[in-house]
Assembly symmetry: C2
Homo-oligomer: 438 residues x 2
């Protein structure tokens, strides 16, 4: 499909002035011009159902959130060395959603900053620097948080303080038992063990949920070695998994530190670190932390407005119900199409694994990529994840409705039918031939 | 002065739920409720002249900026994997203000994130990890950027890759010549030399400007060792120093990387890393960088609106003229009051050094603190900086007018008069006596 002149021109300008680290979704890039609820319109006025974006958590451009942003930005927006009620109220409301032990907050702008602060808290409290993470996980884009993000390809010498445990759910072994020797070895290493940082749902390897007892067992092992348990709720939090406000609550554990980011400000850069009081107090005894844009009146007003919607529109119930409806529909598709290996995930954080052969479960990234682009042509936005990008990632705004789910399912079914007309082997051979005959 | 019930209550709630790392300005904290231009109103409706805040760069709640924020937030605010014109236009406008070599941008939310990315660029390009900074400088709040911020008290083992050079202007020696052996030793160390990161104005030690040729000489030494020169414009940039758009331009050098933060979004979390194309390309060959909230349509719209005001309201000329007027007024005060040691800085980034004795120049933090609180009572907001917090820091919004400068000068004069009624020695003895007689 030829690119429009408009997108050609914008892409050329963009490539001229933005770092080459900026890449774009889809073969034919989307010029995102307007959005509302679960709909994004492109520059030609074409509507797309957004099944991918978690940042506009309560829907794109929610009027209550926009009003709060506008009202507070028009009134005042200073840093936290003056007093303002909005951020205090917000901290009270956030801690009220957490187990009683997690009774204090600090604010930042991004999940990266929140995880960086969590790591600093863990270093200050334990006196150690070592970290255990699940393999392939992503916890941020900067320096030590990038070094502990095994998602990216970093030189091992930057990672001498990091140990990786396999994410759960990929084998039949006992996941926590496999992790135990890694955690104990990190604790005995020169860097010691400052923290385990872990997601409640593992999207980098392809959206695996933790088996029952997994997080509790890991926490017990980590604490027996003197380390802290940090739950990264940047992706899974704020009702995304449907059963609770925060993903870790599904497992019944109480972490030492919880980090929150992306969805909290519905687009406004707002991140939170919640922790036990004693941890902040020990940190504050020797360290300072000030974040100019963290905890401003606007951040507080927007955060409060998002919580208003989460509570007032019964978002968690919606996530639970629509998530379950969607999973049922996806299982029906699985029965019809042999190229779907598994349906994974929970709530409105779902993965559809594409395979070349369901019995052997060979990942099929080509089909995943073809479906993503075909569905986009049909007006539905999804993306991929997993080690080989063979898993369709479904992670829409939390207000996603049953009708939206039907549209997603119908579009996916149509795309699968169209794609199914071309068998995988033939496709694969054609590509090989094409490479041989330039 | 007794605190109001309102501020007592809010402070108690705040201390109950926010990390103890949150401290507040002034003995009697200010509940900042509304702001416009250079004025902040407290909860009792009392107006204060803001002589301190650099984040509301074009004035608190500038209508053009608020309109752009509201308009774009109401339309769409997605991440940069969809195309949008605002951030491309913004990158074109930012690079147009820089020397031609600095022709590419990446976006983040905070100065911390910008400096972290700059460090990652320098590591990728040089293959080294060592850093040279000026002593006492602050470059961010997270992990390695906190480790290279000698402003805070971090354990030396976290800083094995950092060397400090003295900031310029504190002695009669040749500043660059004193720095040279430190830079060369860092380069010969196991970590090597990735970068020098340096401010165009040195506010942590008390707002010193660089002597002529200083930055050029340092740059030459750093480059002869294969390191990159990173200018941290988070505080000094966007016309703050009055002669140029960016502080480094005063010295005529061309850095390899420039980082920008605080004032860029006039309150919205917006930070920029501008660098030579080859640097971004080398980084992108091996590394990824994605910042969810960096370079969104709202960030672009707000950044463009701030640039509109900077250009349309001739902000740089205002900074230059009002800055000069203010320095003249402060020099007149220096003639009247022996407790003023020096007037330092440039543009609208000025320091007033308080001393116990002008001949010996002993720093006087007590007088500085007393003046800050007394001026606040009189409706003028300033703060302190310097190693002992003995320097009044004057860093108002860039739209600060000659009338505002007169109000600041009149209030400072009155506060000095009132304070001057109590000689330092007597004051000092009374405090000592009080300590001896609890």
């Amino acid at each position: 499909m030829a690119r429009s002149l408009l997108s050609e021109d914008l892409l050329r300008r963009r490539q001229g002035v933005l770092s080459p680290t900026y890449f774009h979704h889809y073969e034919e890039p989307l010029i995102a011009t307007r959005a509302e609820g679960v709909t994004i319109w492109d520059a030609d006025g074409r509507a797309y159902l957004d099944c991918y974006n978690n940042v506009p958590s309560v829907g794109h451009c929610h009027p209550h959130v926009i009003d709060a942003l506008h009202r507070q930005a028009s009134l005042i927006n200073t840093h936290s060395r003056y007093l303002h009620e909005a951020i205090v109220t917000y901290a009270e409301r956030i801690t009220a959603t957490l187990p009683p032990d997690l009774d204090m907050c600090a604010f930042a702008c991004t999940g990266t900053e929140a995880n960086a602060l969590a790591y600093e808290l863990a270093r200050a409290v334990t006196g150690k620097t070592g970290v255990v993470v699940t393999d392939g996980s992503y916890h941020g884009n900067a320096l030590a948080v990038a070094d502990i993000s095994l998602y990216s390809a970093r030189p091992p010498e930057h990672r001498s303080f990091v140990s990786a445990i396999p994410p759960p759910g990929q084998s039949c072994e006992d996941d926590a038992a496999r992790a135990e020797p890694v955690i104990r070895a990190r604790s005995r290493s020169p860097s010691g063990l400052a923290m385990l940082i872990i997601d409640p749902i593992f999207d980098a390897p392809g959206i695996f949920t933790a088996p029952a007892g997994y997080l509790a067992e890991l926490s017990q092992i980590v604490r027996s070695e003197g380390g802290l348990v940090v739950m990264d709720e940047v992706q899974a939090g704020l009702t995304r998994l449907g059963d609770n406000m925060w993903g870790f609550m599904d497992s019944g554990i109480v972490p030492d530190i919880v980090t929150m980011g992306k969805p909290m400000g519905a687009g406004y850069p707002l991140a939170v670190v919640a922790a036990k009081r004693a941890i902040f107090e020990e940190f504050a005894a020797t360290e300072r932390y000030f974040n100019t844009f963290g905890g401003t009146p606007v951040a507080g007003a927007v955060g409060n407005a998002v919580l208003d919607v989460i509570e007032g529109e019964e978002i968690q119930r919606n996530v639970h119900e629509v998530g379950r409806y969607l999973v049922n529909g996806l299982h029906q598709l699985t029965d019809q199409f042999g190229c779907i290996g598994h349906i994974r995930g929970k709530g409105l954080f779902l993965g559809i694994e594409l395979v070349k052969d369901r019995s052997a479960l060979h990942p099929d990234p080509e089909t995943a990529a073809a479906l993503v682009n075909r569905m986009k042509q049909k007006g539905v936005l999804v993306s991929t994840c997993g080690q080989l990008d063979s898993v369709l990632k479904i992670r829409p705004p939390l207000i996603f409705s049953q009708d939206n789910a039907d549209q997603l399912l119908d579009t996916l079914r149509a795309a699968l039918h169209e794609h199914g007309a071309r068998p995988f082997e033939q496709n694969h051979n054609r590509q090989k031939n094409a490479e041989g005959n330039p």
